[in-house]
């Protein structure tokens, strides 16, 4: 169903029909002191040409760097077909296309998406997506607390190796619901410290990210079993691209994770200066009624034909109001479309190749950088496609110098609230994907060698 805005003629006809002269008259009942007036601070509109010129300049300022940054948003190749198809009007401008009688195409696509995410994560059910990885993690916590009724602690343990932005966002979202987020400390190897797990706590849920914020691989089997032994639900936060080669959360420990969430940006979604993307939520069948967000189901119509429809809607706001599983009643349909087409085009083999090449490239760069004088490894142990290095000089200065050489070298860890990292202002978090060519990787090493040689430049 296409969305077509009203013309002035349409508006005039409607106003005449109801006997009103001006649209503003319909807002008369709002007390004058509550109205914003003319919004004088908002500049006048620009012509399309002027707007394009302005925004082109701004976009160019971010462009032209070889990207070695990650920390939750990754520069993966997106085949042209993905956005060629996703940009079709039927997907791009359809307005809330969830009515079974009008939007079977969209509903089928989302059903396929759910099937793919469930398969990728090793779980039994998936929803139609949530906003992003961070808010998805918060929703997973709320879901776990609802599902784990026997647990009265109101506490969720979150590894300090989870992306700090995700933890901050979650804290904001759950804070007023009487939920306490408690940390699981990390050790000097950049993973959860298995020797100092809080044995005296009985939380409702435990949150583990794999790979973690530092690109390190956690002992997910041990952590999952530890949590289940204390009757806590396990929430896995994962990068879907890695699931082609890493053990899916459904197979963690003896019983598998209970809820899986994360951000789908690596799958066909451009980095786009930080957004938008989509969050995915998957869970075991027994928890499906506590899952937030839309769920598409497959059924048969009166003639026995396969059809798709929203299902389990009694979880949602339009039926349960304040008792709904979430106050969010939407999803990221367009990005899910891109992600689903991306996964279809790559298939399991393609995803495996991307993941493997990303890992191999990262290890190559890491090795080469550690051979440079003064560059140290921060964490020992297996990494996926991201790693932290400690530089002999300020990381921020290195970033400026590398930018001048056309390279986005990574992120300074001092810009994130992470604990127990010595000299975080000299630590760079570097990510490498399959897109980085051998010459780009060599270029990074040569550029950094040059920057370091020049000292405080």
């Amino acid at each position: 169903m296409p969305f077509v805005p009203h013309t002035q003629a349409d508006v005039d006809t409607m106003l005449t029909a109801i006997g009103v002269e001006d649209i503003n008259a319909l807002f008369d009942e709002i007390p004058v002191h509550l109205t914003n007036g003319n919004l004088d601070q908002v500049p006048a509109g620009k012509s399309e040409l002027a707007m394009m010129q302005l925004l082109s300049e701004r976009a160019a300022a971010d462009d032209g760097y070889t990207c070695f940054m990650g920390a939750g948003s990754y520069d993966h190749h997106i085949p042209a077909a993905v956005w060629d198809l996703t940009s079709r009007g039927e997907f791009m401008t359809a307005y809330t296309p969830y009515q079974a009688e009008a939007s079977q195409g969209t509903l089928q696509l989302i059903y396929e998406y759910q099937s793919m995410m469930a398969a990728l994560t090793g779980m039994e059910v998936s929803n139609a997506s949530v906003y992003d990885g961070a808010s998805g993690m918060a929703e997973a916590m709320l879901m776990a607390l609802r599902a784990n009724k026997k647990n009265k602690s109101g506490q969720v343990l979150v590894a300090t190796t989870v992306h700090p932005h995700y933890t901050d966002a979650s804290r904001n979202i759950v804070r007023n619901q009487g939920i306490e987020i408690l940390p699981m400390a990390m050790n000097q190897d950049g993973v959860v410290d298995l020797n100092s797990l809080p044995q005296d706590l009985a939380p409702a849920a435990v949150v583990i990210q794999q790979p973690n914020f530092f690109g390190r691989l956690e002992a997910v089997d041990r952590l999952t079993n530890w949590a289940h032994e204390r009757k806590a639900l396990v929430i896995a936060v994962v990068n879907p691209m890695t699931l082609a080669v890493l053990k899916p959360p459904g197979e963690w420990g003896d019983e598998g994770a209970d809820i899986v969430c994360g951000d789908g940006q690596p799958m066909g979604v451009p980095m786009a200066s930080g957004g938008p993307s989509f969050g995915f939520t998957c869970c075991k069948q027994g928890l499906v009624r506590q899952m937030p967000g839309r769920i598409i189901g497959r059924t048969q119509d009166l003639d026995g034909q396969t059809g798709y429809t929203l299902t389990l809607q009694a979880r949602e706001q339009h039926i349960r109001r304040g008792k709904a599983t979430s106050n969010i009643c939407t999803n990221q349909g367009l990005l899910v479309t891109a992600g689903t087409i991306f996964m279809s085009l790559l298939g399991p083999q393609g995803l495996r190749e991307v993941a493997t090449q990303s890992h191999v490239n990262a290890m190559q760069l890491q090795q080469a950088l550690l051979a440079l004088p003064g560059v140290e490894s921060v964490f020992e142990g297996p990494h996926f496609h991201e790693f932290a290095i400690r530089l002999p000089i300020s990381a921020r200065k290195v970033i400026s110098a590398m930018l001048a050489r056309g390279i986005l070298p990574g992120l300074c860890l001092a810009d994130f609230t992470v604990d127990q990292i010595d000299a975080a202002d000299r630590v760079l978090l570097v990510a490498v994907t399959e897109k980085r060519t051998p010459s780009q990787i060599e270029g990074y090493v040569a550029a950094l060698a040059d920057v370091l040689q020049q000292g405080e430049s």
Binding site: K149, K150, R289, A314, I319, R320, K323
Partner: protein, 131 residues
């Protein structure tokens, strides 16, 4: 005309309560309620051991078109829940006063039952809601 057995007492919120021989009280939803809801697909029951006060939310009944809270018709402790409803929620539609029971409580005070509506009074509630 909905079925309103005289051996039960009723809450205005459409739950029935029946005092059993052993002093426990069985609770469910009325024929009027199940008919209004349509096909029941899921029932969320209270936990055994849970203490409820009269009027407290004690569960949820979900149909294809709505989800409604179930309220405890009197105060007491939940001693049993109808686990058969997990796999066969349709029992609520088919047999609301017997097989479709929701939970049993030990009432704090049997006398509280007199606060509930008898069959006739409940019939009037249903008639009023019918239009």
């Amino acid at each position: 005309m909905s079925d309103i057995p005289t051996d039960c007492k009723y809450a205005a919120t459409h739950e029935w309560a029946r005092l059993e021989e052993d002093g426990s009280v069985t609770v469910g939803i009325s024929d009027f309620a199940q008919n209004s809801l349509g096909d029941v697909v899921y029932v969320e029951l209270p936990e055994e051991g849970q203490e409820v006060l009269s009027g407290d939310e004690a569960g949820v009944v979900e149909s294809v078109k709505a989800a409604s809270d179930i309220y405890a018709p009197l105060s007491g402790t939940v001693i049993a829940v109808n686990e058969a409803l997990e796999d066969e929620p349709e029992k609520v539609n088919q047999d609301p006063y017997r097989d479709g029971w929701f939970f049993k409580i030990t009432p704090n005070d049997e006398a509280d039952l007199t606060d509930l509506l008898d069959a006739e009074a409940y019939q009037e509630v249903c008639d009023a809601e019918e239009h």
